[in-house]
């Protein structure tokens, strides 16, 4: 039920009403509305119950294990939120002069330094407002770099077929053609195919490492050499740094530009459409092209660097200075962890993934890459169960909801048929992981004995199996009075 359906004309939440009716008498009459806004008219109690009920229908990291691969649904420490909401941060106007905001600028400058250090890059800009914008900024810088050198014949970006779908989209948005590089049977990029694909038309390659297949690209140095030798640059899709944090640095692997999804690795709020933050880091040769503003420090004062300081910048990506509130949460998270804590993130993220992987294998599940070690995530394939018992990855995903576990990512990456991409994250206990294995084992048994139980799942949720085709084709997003 929508809150508008609780509405009755004239009903008020009186406790929330202002004491005096204020009139905006200094506004021109033609700008004032002549009818009241179409807001739901409910009591305060109705509003509280309505939204509480909705929140109870949700699966969330605060209530359930949420092993959604590639998304890193880990715990966001409450402390980050509390400290980022300090009045000095919260009440600051984005256009307040830098001399009045030295505190927040110092935090942002420190965050730039921390991200430089943890990724091995030369310089960082915090301004991209989300991962997709970070990707766009990254490839736009590759383009600006080649253009600045008069090297304008490079019109192609290489993208492995295991890449996130955003990678080819980003390359296309930046005016490049996309050339797909196949993956070998062991999950690594087919280096021979890469060698054959590079040339004077190669602007760069977009790589995720660890890849979306949940394995570490072992020949990364060789790949970097091949692309650099051809005159191209390497873009690192830093969608997820959890497995490598404090252990391996993209800069040391040979990457020239990286974007980071702070909401995955640095524990900022996640899902629901934002706000996000997708800082970019670059090697020395791309530094002049960084998007603005960047926080500068002359040893005495912090300031916003602008077009005057960086005339070759690709420009600004959003109003103001990026999502500062989100950046502050990431900064506090990084400071809470410290250097040692970051290494622990990587150790426990990979330990949990490998533990879960081995236990699921022992429980009878097929791994997509059984001979490879998992990174922060791994892939189970249900191809055999689909062939033999007619149950799909989607059936498993839906049935897991009945056991009170959020489903893993299904059908991504597309290279692996009937796949579940499972990412436990570092913030889960062993008991939680064991509970998940037990549920998966029980569902596997059901698949043999009573596959209908899976086909018809979920049985215990507020809604049953949804009509995804209709949801995609007949969008119904606006309430109308019927």
């Amino acid at each position: 039920m929508l809150i508008f359906e609780h509405s009755r004309p004239g009903r008020r939440a009186t406790a929330q009403a202002p004491f005096t009716a204020e009139t905006a008498d200094d506004l021109p009459a033609e700008l004032l509305r002549d009818a009241p806004a179409a807001l739901p008219e409910v009591s305060e109690m109705q509003a509280v119950r309505h939204y509480t009920r909705l929140s109870q229908k949700n699966f969330s990291i605060d209530t359930q294990f949420y092993p959604l691969g590639s998304c890193t649904m880990k715990y966001n420490p409450r402390a980050c939120n509390t400290l980022a909401m300090l009045p000095g941060f919260l009440a600051r106007h984005p256009l307040a002069p830098a001399c009045e905001g030295q505190g927040v600028l110092a935090c942002l400058y420190d965050l730039q330094e921390i991200l430089k250090d943890v990724t091995g890059m030369q310089a960082v800009s915090l301004t991209p407002a989300a991962g997709a914008q970070g990707e766009f900024a990254g490839v736009a810088m590759i383009r600006a770099y080649h253009d600045a050198r008069g090297d304008t014949a490079r019109d192609e970006i290489l993208v492995p077929d295991a890449a996130h779908g955003t990678n080819p989209a980003t390359a296309t948005m930046c005016g490049y053609k996309v050339h797909e590089i196949p993956t070998g049977p062991d999950g690594d990029v087919d280096v021979e195919a890469l060698r054959a694909a590079v040339g004077p038309h190669t602007a760069g390659i977009m790589l995720t490492n660890p890849s979306t297949l949940g394995v570490f690209e072992r020949r990364i140095k060789e790949i970097a050499g091949i692309v650099h030798e051809a005159g191209g640059l390497l873009y690192y899709d830093g969608a997820n740094l959890n497995a490598i944090l404090g252990k391996v640095r993209p800069g040391d692997m040979g990457f020239d530009v990286i974007h980071m999804n702070l909401h995955k690795t640095f524990s900022t709020p996640h899902g629901g459409g934002g706000p996000g933050a997708g800082p970019v880091g670059v090697s020395a040769r791309l530094e002049p092209f960084l998007p603005l503003p960047v926080v500068g420090y002359d040893g005495d004062e912090y300031s916003w660097l602008t077009e005057k300081d960086r005339p070759q910048s690709i420009g600004r990506l959003s109003a103001f200075m990026g999502n500062v509130g989100v950046l502050l949460r990431a900064y506090i998270y990084a400071r809470l962890l410290g250097r040692e804590g970051m290494q622990r993130v990587a150790e426990f993220a990979t330990l949990n993934a490998n533990y879960l992987m081995k236990r699921l294998e022992a429980a009878g599940f097929d791994l997509a890459f059984p001979e490879r070690r998992a990174t922060h995530e791994f892939i189970v394939t249900l191809k055999r169960q689909q062939k033999e018992q007619g149950v799909s990855a989607m059936d498993f995903a839906k049935r897991l909801l009945d056991f009170n576990f959020h489903a893993p990512t299904t059908y991504f990456p597309m290279l692996v048929p009937e796949c579940l991409l499972i990412e436990p994250t570092e913030t889960e206990s062993r008991e939680e992981l064991d509970g998940f294995v037990e549920a998966m084992a029980q569902i596997l048994a059901e698949a043999g004995e009573n596959p209908e139980q899976l086909h018809e799942a979920p049985h215990t949720q507020p809604v049953r199996r949804l009509d995804e085709v209709r949801a995609a084709r007949e969008l119904d997003l606006r309430w109308r009075e019927s």
């Binding site: 779908g165 059908y411 597309m414 995804e468 085709v469």
Partner: protein, 129 residues
Amino acid sequence: MGELPGDLKYSKSHEWVRINDDATLTIGITDHAQDQLGDMVYVEVPEAGRELKAQEAFAVVESVKAASDVYTPVAGTVLEGNEALADTPEAVNQDAFGAGWLMKIKPVSLDALNELMDAAAYQEYIDSE
């Protein structure tokens, strides 16, 4: 899934090609491909007159699982895209080898067809995949 039509040629990227009487070609994705992709929600077909190189992406099929490019096994000029799929993308699921066709093309040459598989070879290929 039913029998594979014996009169078609098949590619490793799961397209089928029918050689029409007037030496034009009709191209679509196989029943196996639609089964892997799942229920279609959107299909984008090429406009008539577009020149295609071999292995060029000519259509996009978007299912509840993913959006995928479809590649032409042969170079040529597009004669017609199956516009009806804009309203009935489910035809690709229900009748991949028939009403779910994606485009008709006038090929530059028929030589490239020799590199494609016949029904028996394609069946073996998907069984081993």
